[in-house]
Symmetry: D2
Subunit: 371 residues, 4 copies
């Protein structure tokens, strides 16, 4: 095995008793077994298969809205039998011969996106479109909701966790905070003194709300159908909230903005109605930054927008901002732990899915699963 | 009259014999008389009505696709009785008391967009959305297809023509070249070595083609239904052309680009089919820059585009690049005269409209009307 | 008088009794009488001399470090006899025929920079280099430390004050906050998670400190010789302070930054030693943003910096960010009043200069003079 | 040896007869032997020492001004015994276990800068400051003026050469063209219609001149002491040239620019006089982009520049633009072969140094050494 050179002398070996107790040739993992079926099962501990791989002992992971999409059977690339999960923190167990930045024992944050660093897209900082990576964890290869995970392109896809960090909070930096920051705030060009509307006050909309405050916009208006979520929004820093149940969100927002609309409209739901609402909210010269995962076309009203000097952006998170986000967390400019509402062990993994899947009832934002 | 102080002692006065011959209290002008009706008629010479106004004796003007839209009755803001035209060059005849940058006798280029310079939008360089200006000439106020035109906000909306210029060529800087440059090339982020597709090889698409070459893209692929226009495109610098009559333009372009698509797709037609074609042409990480004037919504296929990291931009030309374009013309980096195919006198104005309106037959790009 | 049309019927007229009491053909003003001499004297109330002018009744003004430079005789453009001052708020008294955005009675903020809006530099948002404006108030023409001031190019150089504002606090938006924001923070490219050092913890350094926090940098290190000023810095949000009296500021900062230096070093003093300190503080890839007014050349150590991928910027404030700053104040993202330490009446103007000029003793930052 | 898996079955092995003839355990190389001494000597063929390495059989290389600096003894990091050279094209001979993008037999361009792709600097596209790379070839490790070279971080530091390329011309993309483009043109923000001055019409200044034309500036003024070099400049596209022997270059340029100065001043020499000349040439709002390698401090005249809104940039080339430059060469937007004036074999290496080192006499720009 190519990793022999660099494996941790104190780390568990296949077929041996692991340092942290128990036989580790087998491990527990949350397995997608087909539409509607997710189970905690035993699986072989993963091995390094490529020189750029690392094996990470996962300490904490979480569930993403995308995991629920897979569970509904909506993500054909994720086949039954797949270990789910693309977020988490852990400790490096072993590394391949080509890994230079990490060694066994290192505490690491796992990016939801794997990046080779050298392909045309990675060189443009578009890790999401890496020709041999992108979003593969818990999708086309086994993921993080397990005791161990194999992470390809480890040098580019893991991040050192500064000593003394709240590691649980950093799980939010695997996907949801970079998504809100990159797809919503950076693409949306949020600037000091500007006005922002975020349509959708679920976990991802709230992550965008937290990240937007890096730039001191004068107003952030959150729009949702659920008063509980809007209460979170106000707690997290929204200057105004609009419950759009009455179908008059656009009119209400226009009143709030003196008829101008907002400089930045962030779509954080993923259905035509919310995107088309953003088309009504955006000011001349403004930006609609799409975060939502869409399954259908939307109507783009170019007959009113062609002369409005707007921009519309789409983006699959690249996680290129993880290093910067780590610094903002260290500098206490953002508190990612605000997003964590529930905690489970891996043994309670199915219950965690149930809780997260019924967010309207449980008021769950993000759940932490400790492995 | 407030302009008395600054009026040209050699310039014609209302009711007097003009320096260039003839009674100028009356003038000839192309008048929109209702759907389908455009006539050369007599009109009173315009007067200064606001301190920021200038009266310009138009020497050369042209017809824009937008004038044809008005003529069809599609532009409700342009009422019957309106003098059409928003492009041209001329000589300043008189200026209002607030005008500081121009004096009678100055040779000037007229921007299609009037800008106060001080409103919220002008301060953001979005002259097109000036709260007391924007595209008003030949729309909500009388325009340039006449012997004289009143230009509001003259300090910001006229440009000095350098001595020795080919003034006819500079008529292309009133609207069509800034439109191609700003809405297509700048919004489309054309860069050295990149790939560009322009859908629509009419005058505006060809103007974008000329302006795109400022940035040395590696390839510019022009797409149109008309082989004559594609022949112009090749002459003007297109590296490839695709006749899209067979409905396979997207496939053909994908072959040309090795399956990647183009970094910049410029829409220069204004109908759903051409915009939706751009959605198929754009590479991951690329930009669709809309120039076309749209009358209907288009289908935005977010179900395939949400994770493609693209940007879509719309823009009504701001003409903020006119100063820079004047320098590129002076430096011979672009030849705007390439766009001029026909020439008429103002007396032949109706024939000019006929020729321009039947471009498929006449192969007209831009026509010059000398007044 | 050209302003007759628009003068406020309730406003005082030359030679008449003013609404706010007293004969206003004369007014009180702080006059520079030659090196070391500043006096409160009577002067004629100013008249409109150009169609773009406004006369503003000043309600509150302040003193700038630059006024002290003039007082030392270091600014040859400011001749003895000049009314000093280029900052303030007030009420429009009358406007010239070319002014469209303001009318008598409007509450306005006066920019320290006058901008025509139409010259080559104004079109590039470089108002400071306006060919007929720039910093002229209290320099080449009479300024704001008076009961009335004539403001040229009023449409571009005054700003409407939102109703209900703390107008005293907005005096900080005439010069010091835009200077800290534009010359320091924007030129310095401060970004979320980055590290910033500000050399000089006087009023302008502290203004930069306040503005830097718009962008949530992870650390802001203030450096000064005076512990009192560093105490202000900590109160205003500095994460670290260094007293550079021991000559070891660079070593201390390198320890704080793990040997990397800072992403942004802001020079806010204006002498060679502080600029050259910035050269030692800046990280590879970082920026030195100069705010200080320099009287001598500095040594630029290109023998160590040529390969460090740094940028150095200089800038005379353009005040283009005043509209945005007004929004951040309205949105409570910054509290400009923090900078105000002392208050005087115009009658106490000489004492105000004394207090501001002895800041080391008086611990003055900005003084407000109510007229 | 870890590379066994991927070595080319047709490639020469250590101690065996090479496919292209001759015993390859030994090779010829240009060795720096101490100040003033450069010799062609035998050396062992390099071996892979790290999983990210590749061994490249060099086919063509060149000499850089920096090699002459080493030869003078001015570069302490380059110890006697070093094989010089950091530019070239060749064919991959073998690759380490961690290399994924290249295989034996691939035709490659060698970047002068080695980049790991994963360190803090590489993630910011600052490959020049890679913590385990940067400019090391022919400096701290053996370089390219040899039959074979070991290239660390091969995945990020080699580039595939498109089939059918003029490989000799691509040697110009190892260093000189990216340097002119990145340090001069991109840092200098050259834009359509702008004005550019380049001080120094040697190889690097001429490379900047070629790259500047990507952006269609209205004027490019070259300044040098040598009329021969200025003749090259005119041939390569300069719009004006100034021989600065008379000490009046600044005055002459001011006349050419109507007293404004240039938007971009590029320093391409590396001595105080030329940098200080740039300080006089730059327009308000402009940029001085330093390319030169400096050995001494320069006087930065902040007493005149503090309020001129300028930027000064420094940069060691990152070669991040090589992919884009390859596309511009393929699209015939630039002809790098223009820079090649002389050709030698490796056996003539010492003569090549002599020719390049006496450029004033030989009129050499870049020399090609075929190995």
């Amino acid at each position: 095995m190519t990793t022999a050179l660099k494996s941790n002398p104190n780390a568990p070996r296949p077929g041996t008793t692991a340092a942290h107790g128990g036989k580790v040739s087998q491990m527990k993992a949350m397995i997608y077994l087909g539409p509607g079926q997710i189970k905690l099962q035993d699986r072989p501990k993963p091995d390094i298969t490529s020189p750029g791989d690392a094996i990470v002992r996962v300490t904490q992971t979480t569930i993403c809205g995308t995991d629920l999409h897979i569970l509904k059977g909506d993500v054909p690339t994720a086949a039954p039998g797949r270990i789910l999960g693309h977020e988490g923190v852990g400790v490096v167990d072993s590394v391949g011969a080509g890994v230079t930045a990490f060694k066994p024992g290192d505490h690491v944050l796992i990016s939801c996106v794997s990046a080779c660093g050298t392909c045309e897209f990675c060189r443009k900082q578009m890790y999401s479109h890496c020709t041999t990576g992108g979003w593969i964890l818990g999708n086309t290869i086994d993921g993080c909701q397990a005791e161990y995970v194999r992470t390809p392109h480890a040098d580019m896809s893991l991040y050192h966790i500064p000593e003394g960090s709240n590691e649980e909070a950093l799980v939010m930096l695997s996907d949801i905070l970079p998504t809100g920051f990159e797809c919503g705030v950076l693409n949306g060009k949020v600037q000091p003194g500007c006005s922002v509307a975020i349509v959708g006050s679920g976990p991802i909309g709230l992550a965008a709300l937290l990240a937007a405050q890096f730039y001191s916009p004068a107003s952030i208006i959150m729009i949702d159908l659920d008063d509980n979520r809007l209460a979170f929004a106000r707690k997290f820093g929204a200057t105004d909230t609009i419950n759009s149940t009455d179908g008059k969100a656009a009119e209400t927002l226009m009143k709030l903005t003196g008829g101008a609309g907002v400089d930045t409209a962030i779509e954080a739901v993923g259905v035509p109605a919310t995107f088309e609402l953003c088309e009504k909210l955006v000011a001349a010269g403004g930006t609609i930054a799409n975060i939502g995962v869409h399954g259908k076309p939307v109507s783009l009203h170019l007959e009113t927008l062609w002369d409005r000097n707007i921009a519309i952006t789409t983006r699959l998170v690249d996680t290129v901002t993880i290093p910067r986000l780590l610094k903002t967390v260290a500098g206490k400019k953002i508190d990612p732990a605000l997003l964590i509402t529930h905690r489970f062990t891996l043994a309670e993994g199915e219950k965690a899915y149930e809780t997260f899947g019924n967010a309207a009832k449980t008021m769950a934002l993000k759940v932490i699963i400790t492995t």
